[in-house]
């Protein structure tokens, strides 16, 4: 028998704390698969955030550093500047990256910091029980927008890829989804590119992954994926927002 599909090496062989059907698990696996394929596990340092993925240090086999809420890009900058040959990535949710950590995110990108950012957008604060996130969509019901997000009161969501694509320091800004196998393949390609960019010293790379939160959305995992397709993707369109080397432009990627 030939193995067609199995757990990647860079993913720890442990059960995760994520709720049933939460797509964090898929995104973790894609990052680990990319680490395997590029052979970088032993040279990688992951920076984990505050939020549902705060326990990511239990799930990746590479070295892991914990950052205060939102500060992962600053922590990753510190690691990268100290060890320029390491492969440094952050794994952050929407509250972490697009609310409390907006400043760190924007400036890491503006600096063209040669790091990889995996941004998981599920339009809600999951860990604290489902409050409004910076990416919560107009009309979306959360614990702190019980009548639905009203832009007149709570303002509009932040579209990070669109915003970051305006910065000179951003090498890659791409939004992907993991709602079906075709999209998952696309997401993996994007994540791989974001790591390759770093290896080839191309600049700041962010992959925004549209993700689910069945528990706090109050949906079954299957219905949650349907919401990604019918509500999120139209509002947060998938695609490459910027793909242009910041540094090392002449050298072709491997």
């Amino acid at each position: 028998m030939a193995v067609v599909f199995d757990k990647p090496h860079a993913l720890c062989d442990v059960p995760t704390h994520y709720c049933p059907g939460c797509t964090h698990g898929i995104i973790h696996r894609l990052v680990a698969e990319v680490m395997d394929e590029l052979g970088i596990e032993g040279n990688s340092v992951g920076v984990f955030p505050v939020g549902c993925s705060v326990l990511a240090y239990n799930y990746f086999e590479c070295d892991m550093v914990g950052a205060p809420h939102g500060r992962a890009p600053a922590v990753a900058t510190g690691v990268k500047r100290a060890r320029p040959d390491s492969v440094v990535f952050t794994y952050q949710g929407d509250g972490d990256l697009a609310a409390i950590g907006t400043c760190e995110t924007v400036h890491a990108a503006a600096r063209g910091e040669n790091i990889t950012v995996i941004f998981v957008n599920n339009t809600i604060y999951g860990m604290t029980g489902g409050q409004m996130a910076p990416t919560t969509m107009p009309g979306q019901v959360t614990q702190t927008t019980p009548y639905g997000r009203e832009p007149e009161i709570q303002g509009y969501p932040v579209k990070m890829c669109e915003m970051l694509s305006t910065l000179e320091g951003t090498a890659l800004a791409q939004r992907v989804s993991v709602d079906n196998p075709a999209h998952i393949r696309e997401a993996k390609k994007a994540i791989k590119k974001a790591f390759e960019n770093q290896i080839n010293k191309k600049g700041f790379s962010i992959v925004e992954v549209l993700s689910t939160c069945p528990t706090n959305w109050g949906m079954s995992p299957v219905d949650a994926l349907e919401r990604v397709r019918t509500e999120m993707i139209p509002y947060f369109p998938l695609g490459v927002y910027k793909d242009e080397a910041v540094w090392n432009k002449e050298e072709k990627a491997d």
């Binding site: 340092v45 550093v65 510190g78």
Partner: protein, 352 residues
């Protein structure tokens, strides 16, 4: 060892380079400006990284990252900036990471002033951030001591895996004095806990301050406090000046200790038996040194550029056996020797 004339802040920066500081992150703020400027100017020829961060918060978290990666690292700021860094310092302490934090104090609260101050004593010694933790706090009183303490700060930070603060002020930072540097290269041990890639040779390292199980967090904090007990035994230092027969012992650190020393000399000329106790470490507080300085004292006078933040530590060190009086100027004002002498004379007259 050649002697050169240097500003306190620049000497501090030079000392950091010589101590093997590889990464320095900071955000512009007065009156620490020269630390960053000096390191920026020297980064290329001295092979260090200087990065001006987008905020004080980002700067301290870059320190967290660089320290996690196993290099010697530092950030410097002044009072309002240190408040912003408190979150990061708490995480650094909770993650058992070495780091050097410089506070060139200015007046507060709020935006306060840009003049020298000592009103961050409580912040530095009691509660720089949430949770149970301490920093080792060095308080230099001269440019030479700023240099020596900076080098020591990096060593102690590595030894005990914790943040160490240099608590100086706008006066010490801006003033020029002759200073000499040792040519000795720093001895930096390999950090097997650092996160710089496991190279397939070990299990992954994790730098973390999260412990969801109460027993785990309690254990982690207890272990840290066991280290603090060792530090309390090993790191405590003070200068004791003319205290053997002193009736009045002045207690002052940093800039105000220089003023107090002049006042002590002037008091002696007038026949008043005054002495000076100058803590060089504020945490751990040099309790034994203070007790011995007060062996024959009748009164203690704390001289500070604050509203008297050190007074409580003095009383506690003496178990409240002696009256501890206070004289201070603040808001950017520095007490003059004449003002302090007047206080000494008042106390002296009263007790006669």
């Amino acid at each position: 060892m050649e002697r050169v004339l240097m500003k306190g802040n620049e000497a501090l920066a030079e000392a950091a380079i010589r101590a093997g500081c590889k990464c320095f992150f900071a955000y512009p703020i007065t009156p620490q400006t020269e630390v960053a400027a000096y390191l920026a100017k020297n980064m290329k020829k001295r092979d260090i990284t200087f990065l001006q961060a987008e905020s004080e918060i980002a700067a301290v978290n870059m320190v967290l990252g660089a320290s996690s990666a196993g290099v010697r690292t530092m950030t410097s700021s002044s009072s309002p900036g240190i408040s912003l860094k408190s979150e990061g310092v708490s995480y650094i302490a909770g993650s058992d990471l070495p780091a050097v934090i410089v506070n060139v104090q200015r007046g507060g609260p709020g935006l306060g002033s840009i003049q020298p101050s000592q009103s961050d004593y409580w912040q530095a010694t009691k509660a720089l951030g949430h949770g149970d933790f301490q920093l080792i706090v060095f308080a230099p009183a001269s440019v030479q001591e700023t240099v020596d303490m900076t080098i020591r700060a990096f060593e102690e930070a590595d030894r005990y895996r914790m943040p160490v603060m240099i608590l100086t002020d706008g006066f010490l930072g801006q003033m020029m004095e002759p200073v000499s540097f040792s040519d000795e290269a720093p001895v930096i041990e390999e950090k097997d806990w650092a996160c710089s890639g496991h190279k397939g040779e070990r299990k992954h390292n994790i730098i973390n301050s999260l412990f969801l199980q109460p027993d785990d967090l309690e254990h982690s904090v207890n272990e840290r406090y066991k280290r603090y007990d060792i530090i309390k035994e090993k790191i405590h230092d003070a200068e004791i000046y003319k205290c053997e027969d002193a009736d009045i012992v002045l207690a002052a650190y940093g800039t105000t200790a220089r003023v107090a020393k002049s006042a002590v000399n002037q008091a002696r000329e007038k026949g008043i038996k005054a002495g000076l106790f100058r803590p060089k470490t504020l945490w751990p507080f040099p309790v034994e040194e203070f007790r011995s300085a007060c062996a024959n004292a009748k009164t203690v006078l704390s001289v500070e550029m604050s509203q008297g933040q050190m007074v409580e530590d003095l009383r506690l060190a003496l178990d409240c056996r002696l009256p501890v009086e206070f004289y201070g100027r603040h808001g950017g004002n520095i007490p003059s020797p004449a003002e302090v002498l007047e206080q000494i004379e008042k106390i002296s007259e009263r007790s006669l």
